[in-house]
Symmetry: C2
Subunit: 368 residues, 2 copies
C-alpha cells in the first residue's frame, strides 16, 4: 500500500467553508465535491442524487464494507460565513460541524489505495441534516442505495475531536403555543396576554439542569431547551398567541414515543402541543470488532455522542455506526466556531491507517 | 337652520370597514372619503395631502373654530376584515376604532348648515395613528395647516361610547433585548439561552396590576405590557437574542421623560434598552366653556381617556381637545370588535346639535 500525499486539509476545509451551504441550499457545495471526486472514476463510481453525492469504491467479496458519511449543510450564519485562519485554528461556519470532516473524507478518497484497502469503501455526502428528519438527505439515500443498509460499519465524520463517540442522543422538537385574547394594550384587562401567560412554563425550563444517563459505559446528558419563541401582532395590541419551540435531547435508553410523552406531560392545560419532528437515538455499539479495532489500535477515547447524528439512521437499519471526525463537538453551532488544525491531520491519519490496513494484514506483514 | 337628513350611518360605517386601511395602506379609504366629501365644495375647500384629507368649511370671524378629527387606519386584521351586522351591532375591524367615527364625521359634513353653524368647522381625516408617532398623519398636517393649531376646540371622534373622554394616556414603546450566546442545543451549557434569561424580567410584568391615577376629577389606569417578543435562529441552536416590546401607558401627571426613566429602571443590568417611540399624554381640560357646554347641554358623562389619542398633539399646541365618538373604547383592537348601532345616531345627534346651534343662539330663539 502506498498512500498518496494528502491534499492540504486546511485549504480544502477553508474552500468548503467559503461555499455557503445552509440547509436546503447545498447545490454549490455538491458541485464542488463532484468536481473534487470525479478523477477517482474509474475505479470508483460517482452518483449524484439531488444534492447528495456518493462515491463508491471497487467491491471485493473478501473484505468488509465501510461507509464514511458526512452532511453538507450548516445552520444559518451568524457573521461567520468566511473561513479565517488564526493561530492553530481555522474559524468559520461549519469548520467543526462538519466541513473539516468533509475535507478529511475528500482527502481519504483521493489518497486511499482502493484495491488494497481493508474494506469496500463508500463515501456519502448528503444534504439537510441540520433540519427536520423528513428532509434529511441520507434518509432519502437509504432506499436508493441498498448497500448503505448492509454495510458492516458506518463512520459519521461528525465533530468528535478525533475521539470515538458512540450512539447518539435522540432529539425532538415540539411547538408549544400559549393562546390569549387580543385587546388594546391600554386595556390589558379586556384581553389575555399570551406572552405573560407562558411565564410559568418558561420558568420551569429555566430551572432545569442537564440530566445524566449512562449507557454501555458512556454518559449522555438529557436537555430541554426553548430554542425559538415568537408572539404578538403589533406594539399596541395585547398578544393573543405566543409560540415556543421546545427541543428535547434524550438518551438512547428512551424511545421517541416515551420522550414525546414526557415532554407533553410538562405542557400546561390549555396550551397547544404540536410535534414538529422526532429523531430516534443511536444505539451504543461498543462491542463491535471493527469499532474495538479502531479504538484499541489508535488508543482513542470512547464517549457518548452528546448530539443527534445519523448514527441513529444506521442504527435503525441494524448497521453498527459511530461518530469520528476532526471537528470539536463543543464548537458546533457556535458563532465563533473553529476547528483545531492538528485535528485535521490526526483524523486523516487515523482513518487512513484504519481503512488501509486490517490488524491481521498488519500482523502478517510483521517479521516472524 | 335646517338639517339635511343624515345618510344611513350603518351602511356608511360598513362601507368604510370593508375598505382595508391598515396603517400605511390608507390610499383607498382616502379616495372614498374624497369622493364622499367633494359635493360640499363649494362652499367648502377639500385638500388631500398624501393619505390625509381635510375639508374646511367657510370661515366667519364672529364664531369659534372647531376641528373634528379622525384617523383612517386600523391595526392589522384578525379574521375580522368584513363588516357584519348582527342584532343591534355592526362587527368588524375598525367598527369602533374608528370607522364609525369617520362615518359620523362624513354624515355631519353632509348635513351641517355651513353658514349658520355655531362654529367654523374643519374635518380632518388622517393616516397612521396606530403606529409610531413620527408616521402620524395629523402630526404632518400641523405645519401644513396652521388653522389646526389655532382652533378653539378639537374633537377627536375616537371611541368613547358617546361620552366625553378628557385628556389621554401617554404611551411609549421600548425594545428590551436579552442577549445570550449561541450553541448547539444539545450542549446548552456552552451557550446562554437568551429566552430563558429573560424569564425574571417577563415574570415581573406578569405580576403587575394596572395603577390608578386621578387627574382633574377623572381616573386613568397606568399599564405595562409586553406586546411582542421574538427570539431564536433555529430549532437546534441556543437562542442568542430575545427582543421584547414593552408598552407603557402613563397618566397625564407624568412627562414622557419621567415615563422613560421609570421603565428604564425596570430593565436588568446587561439587557439592551432602545426607545422605539414616545407619545406625550393629553391635558385634561374639564373647565373649557365649549367643553362645559357639550357636557352640560347633552348630559354627557366625563371620564379619563384610557388610551393614547391625538388629543395629546392638540394639547402640545395649546388647543383644548377632547374625545367624543360612537365607538366603544373596550372594543378597540379586539378580534370581535363591534359598534352598537344606537351609538351612531346618538353621537351624530349630539354633535349635529352642538356644532349647529350655540347655547346663546338657542336661548335667543326661545319665546320671551
Amino acid at each position: 500500500m502506498t498512500a498518496q500525499r494528502p491534499p492540504d486539509l486546511v485549504a480544502l476545509t477553508a474552500r468548503l467553508v467559503d461555499v455557503p451551504s445552509v440547509s436546503g441550499a447545498e447545490g454549490a457545495i455538491a458541485d464542488l465535491i463532484v468536481s473534487e471526486l470525479r478523477p477517482q472514476c474509474p475505479p470508483c463510481e460517482l452518483t449524484r442524487s439531488g444534492h447528495n453525492v456518493v462515491l463508491r469504491g471497487p467491491h471485493r467479496g473478501d473484505r468488509p464494507s465501510i461507509v464514511l458519511a458526512g452532511h453538507l449543510d450548516t445552520v444559518p450564519p451568524a457573521g461567520n460565513e468566511r473561513a479565517r485562519l488564526r493561530d492553530d485554528r481555522l474559524y468559520g461556519l461549519g469548520t467543526s460541524d462538519m466541513k473539516s470532516g468533509l475535507a478529511v473524507m475528500i482527502a481519504l478518497a483521493k489518497s486511499v489505495d482502493w484495491l488494497q484497502a481493508r474494506a469496500n469503501l463508500t463515501f456519502v455526502f448528503y444534504d439537510c441534516e441540520e433540519v427536520a428528519l423528513e428532509r434529511n438527505g441520507l434518509r432519502k439515500l437509504f432506499p436508493e442505495m441498498p448497500l448503505l443498509a448492509t454495510a458492516d460499519l458506518a463512520i459519521l465524520l461528525e465533530p468528535t475531536d478525533a475521539n470515538v463517540e458512540l450512539g447518539c442522543l435522540g432529539t425532538l422538537n415540539a411547538r408549544v403555543t400559549a393562546r390569549g385574547r387580543a385587546a388594546h394594550s391600554a386595556r390589558p384587562w379586556l384581553g389575555e396576554n399570551a406572552i405573560l401567560k407562558a411565564v410559568p412554563f418558561l420558568a420551569r425550563f429555566a430551572a432545569l439542569s442537564p440530566r445524566p444517563v449512562v449507557v454501555g459505559g458512556v454518559e449522555f446528558l438529557e436537555t430541554f431547551q426553548i430554542t425559538t419563541a415568537e408572539g404578538g401582532r403589533a406594539r399596541n395590541v395585547i398578544p393573543d398567541s405566543f409560540a415556543m419551540n421546545v427541543n428535547f435531547r434524550y438518551a438512547p435508553t428512551r424511545t421517541p414515543a416515551e420522550a414525546v410523552a414526557e415532554l407533553r406531560s410538562m405542557v400546561p392545560e390549555g396550551f397547544e402541543f404540536d410535534l414538529v419532528d422526532a429523531a430516534p437515538p443511536g444505539v451504543v455499539r461498543s462491542d463491535h470488532p471493527l469499532i474495538e479495532d479502531l479504538v484499541g489500535r489508535f488508543g482513542l477515547a470512547r464517549r457518548g455522542k452528546q448530539a443527534w447524528t445519523d448514527v441513529a439512521q444506521f442504527s435503525e437499519r441494524g448497521v453498527a455506526a459511530i461518530n469520528f471526525g476532526p471537528g470539536v463537538p463543543e464548537q458546533a453551532h457556535q458563532a465563533d466556531e473553529f476547528v483545531p488544525i492538528a485535528n485535521l491531520t490526526r483524523a486523516f491519519d487515523v482513518l487512513h491507517a484504519f481503512v488501509s490496513v486490517a490488524p491481521a494484514a498488519r500482523a502478517a506483514r510483521e517479521p516472524a
